[in-house]
Amino acid sequence: MNFKIETVEKINVIKGQYATAQGCILPALYVLEEHEGQVTPEREKALAHLLDVPTYQVAEALSFYTMYNRHGRGKHHFQLCRNISCYLRGSDEVIALFQKRLGILPGEVSADGKYELELAECLGNCDHAPAGILGKEDINDLNCDKLNALLDKLGAPHGV
């Protein structure tokens, strides 16, 4: 399979920055995700070919790092923190509310493909606990009212 020209161009820039081809794998995966979309097995192999690294090296990285999109994303990707500082300020109630409204478990995408829930470990936003990320935007100082309002704005159902 062939990548888009901008994917190849950006990966060529990365090749000039890292001392080895293997070093390019993590940044190249981000480029691939940005310009091509989900990291499918075909794209994974094509990337290994483009970088001239053994396929196992790409597979090894993908199986270790959790942020790459290998399985498709919901349109609204919610990451809600469950770790200590957010827990101390009521993250569990916020997470429970999300589950009640959307009827999905952590790691799942709603049947219509619109909502995805990921339980996050500390997001480094503890002064705004309970905290989360929607897409690439931080969501701060969450509580049930605030989450309800946010979900209403996105048109989420009230309970599934």
Binding site: L26, I84, Q99, G107, C126, D138
Partner: protein, 430 residues
């Protein structure tokens, strides 16, 4: 308690992330002062300041820089650890979002002092705004000749590359971070060899934390002697304390090291949340032992004082528990985190973190057995000091300290078959 803000000296300026705003204050004065001296003299100044690594270990920065070989036929690297993942820590995020030029100035000074021509800034992938602001700041620096083949016309070359993390707490460990830049799984390496002799691509490498490097421009601009006017003899300077959990005003506070905990809690954070009583404090990020309220009564926040109480100052992330917090559930939360983040290389960590989480889970949810507490106590010594890195030790720290200080709460969970604080699981797991 008079002190000057070192790290937050410019934070009141709007759009400080813009180079022109940074330059309108004392921006790049430290770099100018550094470039007038020989590289060795810059290292000596940092040594004289007594600045200690702010990532958690507290190792003297100037000494670390001094370990890098002067003469070598290999390239030397600087890696900046901005993979801030320690639960309760959010200081580097604020520095990079609001004041990226301080960090970059510190990096250029370090590059000059160490003879480094390529630096990697490893920022955790979730820090979208920090990545954006740092990249824009780097672009400005290239455009104005502060980076590239001839830094500030002084004939030395430096490139800075942002390496975006991809979701692995363990990459905050310096050798795991190095492996991650090499495109490998983020598994810590055995030390020795230390990164100073064999780090990134087996070349001499220095790994520094964001907050550490942000203090460097000030030290060069105003002098090591003045830096030592703040803090204590052995813990000089100021430090950012990230306070979270059960306080009225969570946030980052820059204070001199040695500041009494009570001053931080009462004067800066508005006391315990909702007027409740203090139960305990994790003083240095989730990886250090918890101190009880009594142990915090006259505690000073410097490396030595916290260590003398049996905990660690770590990265200065202060997590506060009020009287109603269930220590068993809070410990479970952390145990699950470490089980999830164990890289799996060493059996004591790979197995131990999961066993710990499993035992705590059943205690918290009413299936605890009387033999569970001795089982935890038998398990912990096999996790501590038995592995390549300290993740297993970290997992053990909070559990061991709370079991020692709040054993009655663990026993009550077992005796009454459940958590006295809560009757059922609030949310469902996958």
């Amino acid at each position: 308690m008079a002190f000057e803000k070192v790290l937050y000296r410019n934070l009141h300026l709007e759009r400080l992330y813009d180079m022109d705003v940074y330059l309108s204050s004392d921006g790049y004065h430290g770099l100018a002062a550094a470039l007038e001296r020989k590289p060795d003299e810059v290292i000596e100044e940092v040594k004289a300041s007594g600045l200690r690594g702010r990532g958690g270990a507290g190792f003297p920065t100037g000494v670390k820089w001094g370990f890098l070989p002067k003469v070598t036929d290999k390239p030397k690297y600087l890696c900046v650890n901005a993979d801030e993942g320690e639960p309760g820590t959010f200081k580097d995020r604020e520095l990079m979002e609001k004041d990226p030029h301080s960090l970059l100035e510190g990096m250029i000074i370090a590059g000059y002092a160490l003879g480094v021509h390529k630096a990697f800034l490893y920022i955790r992938g979730e820090y979208h705004l920090a990545i954006e602001r740092c990249q824009k700041a780097i672009d400005q620096l290239y455009a104005r000749g502060y980076l590239g083949s001839n830094v500030c016309g002084k004939g030395f070359a430096l490139d800075i590359i942002i390496h975006k993390g991809a979701g692995a707490y363990i990459c905050g460990e310096e050798t795991a971070l190095i492996n991650s830049i090499e495109g490998k799984r983020g598994e810590p390496r055995l030390k020795p060899p230390f990164p100073a002799t064999s780090g990134l691509w087996a070349c001499p490498t220095v790994v520094n934390n964001v907050e550490t490097l942000c203090a460097v421009p000030w030290i060069l601009a105003y002098g090591a002697k003045r830096y030592r006017e703040f803090g204590t003899e052995k813990s000089p300077g100021t430090k950012i304390f990230s306070v979270s959990g059960c306080v009225s005003k969570p946030g980052n506070y820059e204070l001199p090291l040695g500041t009494p905990f009570k001053v931080l809690l009462e004067d800066y954070c508005g006391g315990v949340w909702k007027g409740k009583k203090l139960k305990g404090v994790i003083p240095g990020g989730s990886s250090v032992p918890l101190l009880s309220a009594a142990e915090c009564e006259d505690l000073n926040l410097d490396y030595e004082s916290v260590q003398a109480r049996g905990s660690l100052l770590g990265c200065g992330a202060v997590i506060v528990y009020d009287e109603d917090v269930c220590v068993v559930e809070a410990s479970l939360r952390l145990a699950e985190f470490y089980a999830h983040e164990s890289c799996g290389q060493c059996a004591p960590c790979r197995e131990g973190t999961h066993w710990l989480a499993q035992i705590l889970e059943r205690i918290e949810h009413g299936q605890g057995r009387p033999e569970d507490l001795p089982a935890i106590e038998a398990l912990l010594p096999h996790m501590k000091g038995m592995t390549i890195c300290v993740l297993a030790d970290s997992a053990a720290a909070v559990v061991e300290s709370t079991l020692k200080k709040f054993r009655n709460e663990y026993e009550a969970h077992i005796k009454h078959k459940g958590c006295p604080h809560k009757k059922e699981k609030v949310f469902a797991y996958a």
